[in-house]
Amino acid sequence: MELILSLVTKFIIYSIFLISLNNLMIGKSGYWAIGHICFFYIGAVVTGILSVIYHFSASLIYLTFFIAPLISSVIAFLLSVSTSRLKGDFFMFISISIAILCNVAAEYIAGPSGFSGINRPAGLTSDISILSVSIVFFILTIIYVKNFNRHPLNRIYSLTRTSEKSAMSFGINVLRNNVKIFILSSIIASISGILFAFYSTGTDPQRFSLNEAVILFALSIIGGIDSIKGSIIAAIFYVLVIYLLDSLFSGVSDIYATKIASLVFGLILILAIKYKPNGLFGKRKI
């Protein structure tokens, strides 16, 4: 029972993150943001800082739901403005280096083994309550994204992805729209990070490494770009495979588990590109 609870909670939290990555960041702006996990990280680490370093009380810790999204949206704003002229592969390199930078910065702040003993907020002390809050956020995110897809903004973003020049000649402010989508997706990602920190009451650095970033990115492509079903399937996949490998290799070494995980995911990615170039549920080619 406990096992199912933990898997379901992780699945919900990763779904929120993957929706923000797959449906908003990659899906709308067309930026291949591998380093999007840094916003997830910021959410978790800010919660850790407030709780472990500043000793926020159980009721004050609710402030993290404002502070962490605020910080990550400021960072997202700076990033999007400074990288606005980079597209495609070049943006991917910058994105990867940002993910590494975040990892190093967080290791500096939290130490090599991350924060542990993060306070859960008052009223959310049990696992079930964390799960229910996550489900609320999960449903809100899905409603938002579904509305977004029917919204006139969606076609503005499709044209911008196809050709920025054409979008500009239609009077669309490309830079502003990109900044908006960066900020929006970073806020959602940081909320999933906060939930993760509260759930695991710590920030395990292994869950935020570049390795993980690449795996999550690849999984969202396998699921299908800009498809909610695809993001959910990707989250299920991620949680299950990580759990299976962790339990298989728990006696041996953690390092083997992550290495084999990337091997498995790499194999899946190759097969997916060969046989399902649109992803499982996506309409768009990779």
Binding site: Y144, N147, F148, R150, H151, P152, L153, N154, R155, I156, S158, L159, R161, T162, S163, K165, S166, M168, S169, F170, G171, I172, N173, L175, N177, K180, L184, D226, K283, R284
Partner: protein, 258 residues
Amino acid sequence: MKEIITLSPGFSFSYSGRENYIIQIPKESEPMTIEYGKIYGIQGPNGSGKTTLLNVLNGFLRPTEGYITYYNTKTFNISKRSFKENVTVIKVANFLDGVRRLFQVPILADDISVLDSMLLVKRNKLDERFWNSFNPQKLILRLINRAKESDTEEAKALLKEFNFNDPSVSNSTLSYGQRRLITVLQMIFSDATLLLMDEPFANIHDDYVKKIKILLKLYIKGRNRSIVIIEHDNNNMKDFVDIIWTLIDTNITVKENG
């Protein structure tokens, strides 16, 4: 005020490193203007800079010498290329419902429907507010789409006239000619003051060309609008255009049609 855009005497443009390939207006001649209610045609051999001239009018390129005036405001006066300036230039040149551009190669987003790409040209500032997408669907639609309902009907009618019977079909299923046709229809459907069209009649069936000409004439009739087209076919030029700009030997010459 009759002019939308004025190119000053002495205006010239050349790509860096290719100083002998330039387009220019002689210093002693009259300024070249785009006035309301007229259709302008750009003529010239291949490589004479027709598309480049459109890009300059569109604000994508800045003149090497001289200046362009939009609505009597001097927007830019060349030389230093700072990013900020570049952005403002594009903003001024493409003010909402100001200028719409038809590119030579049709640019359509593949993952939206034909109807959506038609509605894309008539933009409402409210469309770009993010909080709109947080509200329940019906509420927003009632708020912002009250005017849009008639737009949708209008777009469907226009599409039907050109045999697009199913407007919900995706752009990715269209042929090259159909894509061109859709981009031309986008121009007709828009509310823009100035249409810059790069070969609007190429790759389009003759019957449709006739229809499009009539619709474009209607587009500017009695309204503060004008059109600039690039066209190779002299027959199309003769019966459609009011003023012809000819690009020969790097100079632009202006001539009334007829």
